[in-house]
C-alpha cells in the first residue's frame, strides 16, 4: 500500500471517529463497554509514547544521568508538570535541563 493511501485511510478513519455520534449515531448514549475503555485511552497512549522515548537510548533502556540525560531531564519536566499547569513551562524546563546535562556531560 502506498504511503499516501495509508495517510488517506487514517484521515478518513479519523473523520469517521469524529463524526460518529454527531452525524450518524445521534444522541443515543454510548454503551458502557465502549465508554469505559475510552476513558483510559489518553493516559495509556500518552505513557506509551513518552516512556520509550525518554528511557531508551540507542535502542537500549538506560536511566543513568551520563548515559541518557533525557531520562533525568524528563523527570525534571514531570515535576514541573505535576506542580504547575501549562505546557510551555514543562517544555522549557525539560529542554533547559537536557541542554545543561549535555553541556556538562
Amino acid at each position: 500500500m502506498g504511503d499516501w493511501v495509508i495517510v488517506v485511510v487514517i484521515g478518513v478513519g479519523t473523520y469517521l471517529l469524529r463524526l460518529s455520534f454527531v452525524g450518524v449515531l445521534g444522541t443515543r448514549p454510548m454503551p458502557q463497554w465502549a465508554e469505559q475503555p475510552l476513558r483510559y485511552v489518553a493516559p495509556a497512549v500518552l505513557a506509551a509514547l513518552v516512556v520509550p522515548a525518554v528511557v531508551l537510548s540507542d535502542g537500549r533502556a538506560d536511566i543513568t544521568p551520563l548515559g541518557n540525560p533525557r531520562f533525568v531531564a524528563a523527570l525534571v519536566a514531570a515535576v514541573i508538570a505535576w506542580r504547575l499547569k501549562g505546557v510551555a513551562g514543562v517544555i522549557i524546563a525539560g529542554m533547559g535541563a537536557l541542554w545543561i546535562l549535555q553541556a556538562i556531560g
Partner: protein
C-alpha cells in the same frame, strides 16, 4: 466566533512548538516534507500524525500504521458522543463539517461553554472560532517546521520537545488510581515491547494500558 478563538488562545502555547517540531521531524525523516505536511491537512491530529511518521520511518506494515493511528484517535468517539446532544440542533451541513476540526483543545473549551450558552447560533460559531484558530495555527506551524527542516542543528535536540509535550498532557490525565495504572502499564509495556516484531510496541502498550485501567476501575469499585 471571536469568543471561541479567545478561549483556545492559551492552549496554543503548547500547539505552536508541537507543530513546528512535528514539521521539522517529518521533513528530516524518510516520510519527507510533502507527505509530512499533508498529514496535517488529511489527518489533523498531532499525536496520530507523529506516531504515523515514526512508524513509516521504521518501515512498519500498512495495517500497523493505520491501526496505531486510529487507536490514538479513538478518543474522538468519546468527544463526539458528548457533543452530539448539543450539535443535534445544528443544520445537517454543519454537523458534517464541524467534526473535521474537532481536537482535544476545542472539545475541552466547547463542552464547558455549552453548559452556560444555549443559543444554537452562538454555540456553533464559538466552536468554529476555536476549531479554525487551532486548524490555521497547526497548518502554519507544521508547514513552517517542514520549511525550516534541515536548517535546525541536531545538537539542539529539539526532537526531545515532543515527548515533553506528551508528558505535559499525561500528568493532568492521571486523575485517579485506574488512570495512573493505565499509564504505568501502558508505558512499561510499550518499553518492553519496543523492539517486538511489526512495530507493534505502541499498540501493545496502548491496549495493555487501557485494559489495565478498565480492570483497575472494576476492582476498585468492588473493594
Amino acid at each position: 466566533m471571536f469568543d471561541g478563538m479567545r478561549s483556545v488562545a492559551p492552549l496554543l502555547v503548547g500547539v505552536i512548538p508541537f507543530g513546528l517540531i512535528f514539521g521539522v521531524t517529518a521533513a528530516g525523516s524518510a516520510v519527507g516534507g510533502g507527505l509530512g505536511y499533508a498529514t496535517s491537512l488529511i489527518i489533523f491530529g498531532g499525536a496520530a500524525q507523529l506516531a504515523a511518521v515514526q512508524l513509516f520511518t521504521e518501515g512498519a506494515a500498512a495495517a500497523v500504521i493505520i491501526a496505531t493511528a486510529l487507536v490514538i484517535n479513538a478518543r474522538h468517539l468519546m468527544y463526539s458522543a458528548a457533543l452530539a446532544p448539543h450539535f443535534r440542533e445544528f443544520p445537517r451541513v454543519w454537523r458534517l463539517g464541524l467534526p473535521y476540526i474537532l481536537t482535544d483543545q476545542v472539545f475541552a473549551v466547547t463542552i464547558i461553554k455549552y453548559e452556560t450558552e444555549r443559543d444554537p447560533v452562538y454555540r456553533r460559531w464559538f466552536y468554529v472560532g476555536g476549531g479554525m484558530a487551532l486548524w490555521i495555527i497547526w497548518q502554519i506551524t507544521t508547514a513552517t517546521g517542514v520549511v525550516l527542516g534541515a536548517s535546525i542543528p541536531e545538537s539542539w535536540s529539539l526532537d526531545f520537545a515532543i515527548p515533553l509535550m506528551f508528558l505535559a498532557l499525561l500528568v493532568p490525565a492521571l486523575r485517579n488510581r485506574p488512570s495512573i495504572l493505565a499509564a504505568v502499564v501502558g508505558g512499561v509495556m510499550a518499553l518492553v515491547a519496543h523492539d517486538v516484531a511489526y512495530n507493534l510496541g505502541l499498540m501493545i502498550g496502548a491496549v495493555a494500558g487501557i485494559s489495565a485501567g478498565v480492570l483497575g476501575e472494576r476492582v476498585g469499585r468492588r473493594g
